[in-house]
Amino acid sequence: MKGLSVSKAVTALMLAGLVLLPLYSYLSGNIFILTLFTRIVILALAAASLNLIMGFGGMMSFGHAAYLGIGGYAVGMLAQEGVGSGFIQFPVALAASAVYALVIGALSLRTRGVYFIMITLAFAQMAYYVASGLARYGGDDGLTVYNRSDFSGLVNLSNRTQFYYLCLACLFGVIFLVWRIVNSRFGLVVQGLRSNEQRMQAIGFPAKRYQLACFVISGTMCGLAGALLANNTDFVSPAVMYWTRSGDLMVMVILGGMGTLFGPVMGAVVYLLLEEFLSQITEYWALIMGPLLLLIVLFGRGGIMGLLGRVGRG
């Protein structure tokens, strides 16, 4: 076999592209592409966190966008109340996401399969309606974040390039963590539970506490994406928690390749670029996007990563 497989080569190329993007943006004077890719990187982070429970843990959460909202509202609400420091906003965003995940997870993990999907969806919709009811924080209309999180000169979030690299560093950090976790004792147990829960119980592992811990880690990571997203758009609204956004994240994970390290990043890049370019061609872009996704899911089992893997072997 070749030392460098096709999927590894494509992944390396993609990562190099992400790292060098600001340089291209600077040289070409194309500012828009940097804004677009900042959003892609943030949603890739969210997809990577979902992949931890969905791809590695076998827990099909259909309410992952809730954390985008919780992280975002933590930043927005604190900013509105005059707390502008990122050193406070970000930890609060992560902690709030962790607590939400703990409560939702403890309740949802009593169920399995379709019921788990439905109950995580139901909780996310509840979060959506709670946010819509927050009159003090804009309710339905959302909340404008007038000042981005202030990291006292350490990194300036209002500088496009610095902000982009902050998001990219967070993405790489999360992927590094996921990599360590899935190969750790804990990660093997979680993947074992995905594979055969009965067997894992019989060799002495209580399923729920491991799955719950994994659920909380994943939610916390996604809360980070939420805090970054609010800074990116200078705005947070209930819409970021809507169920279609949770669906988008699932599609990114499945498209890129569930249970692979870089699949979610690949999925996010491809999905969001397709959406961007197709919507420029026609307002009926979803008509092209739908069949495209279907084809990849039907013929590319294991998503893009699976496809590339087979090309590498073929």
């Binding site: 190969n183 093997l188 147990v189 993947q191 067997r199 019989a202 060799i203 002495g204 209580p206």
Partner: protein
């Protein structure tokens, strides 16, 4: 007699109007290989499920080494030294043979809430896994994914997984199920070796194997225990012949 390793007292389990386990009492001494036989539908698997904690009894008790485990969940019983194999092979099919066994060892070697260090590089776990695989003759297949193993190899892997938890008592639910003649013979030889190290409760249909292996045999018919004793007395027991063997005379043929 010293305290038995496993004591089952007046265990009752009903399914609707059917009494699947009807006041079953039996003792398994340390070091013993105790076989449970009975025709299809006798309630063997129901009984085993109550021993492993996958099913709660309606009354009665199960005691392991003096400790009441009647209502403990399966994973707690495993920690107390009770390991099982499944009638229908139950493995982590997308994990390698070594990973399957190493996870069982990991369950009994400190906390698994370790998030950072690579578990596949823990020498203690890998050594334990290879020792257990070697024990069942699968060492050369350690890095093969379980789904790629033959049926016979999977049965052996089940045993290795059970052994890796260093159990006091092994519950084997039809380990010969679906095995060919040579594979069965290998399994009997293997069990003959293992019984020197660990007490075993064996549920099995393969009569020659049962009579070759067991110290004691309990016969279950319609949920009730109709006889319990050494192979010779079971072979001579008229109730057993009538209720269980019918016209087959398998037992009388043997030996």
């Amino acid at each position: 007699m010293a305290e038995p390793l496993l004591r089952v007292e007046k265990l009752v389990r009903r399914f609707g109007g059917i009494v699947a386990t009807d006041h079953v009492s039996l003792d398994v001494a340390a070091g013993e290989l105790h076989a449970i036989i009975g025709p299809n539908g006798a309630g063997k698997t129901t009984l085993i499920s109550q021993l492993t904690g996958h099913l709660d009894p309606h009354s009665g008790s199960v005691t392991l080494a003096g400790r009441d485990i009647t209502y403990l969940p399966a994973y707690r019983r495993c920690a107390l030294g009770l390991a099982r194999s499944f009638q229908i092979t139950s493995l982590l099919l997308d994990f390698t043979a070594a990973d399957n066994v190493a996870l069982a060892a990991q369950a009994h070697a400190g906390t698994s809430f370790r998030f950072f260090a690579n578990a596949r590089k823990e020498k203690g776990l890998r050594d334990a896994a290879h020792a257990a695989l070697d024990r069942v003759g699968l060492a050369h297949r350690a890095d093969v994914v379980a789904s790629k193993l033959s049926h016979g190899e999977r049965r052996e892997l089940e045993l290795a997984v059970a052994l890796a938890s260093k159990p006091k008592l092994l519950l084997l639910d039809e380990p010969m199920a679906g095995l060919g003649v040579t594979e069965s013979q290998r399994m009997v030889k293997l069990l003959q070796e293992l019984r020197k190290e660990v007490s075993i409760v064996l549920v099995e249909h393969d009569m020659p194997a049962v009579f070759a292996l067991a110290d004691r045999i309990s016969v279950l018919v319609y949920g009730r225990l109709i006889a319990s004793g050494d192979p010779a007395s079971i072979r001579a027991n008229e109730d057993v012949k009538r209720a269980y063997l019918g016209d087959q005379h398998v037992v009388t043929h043997h030996g």
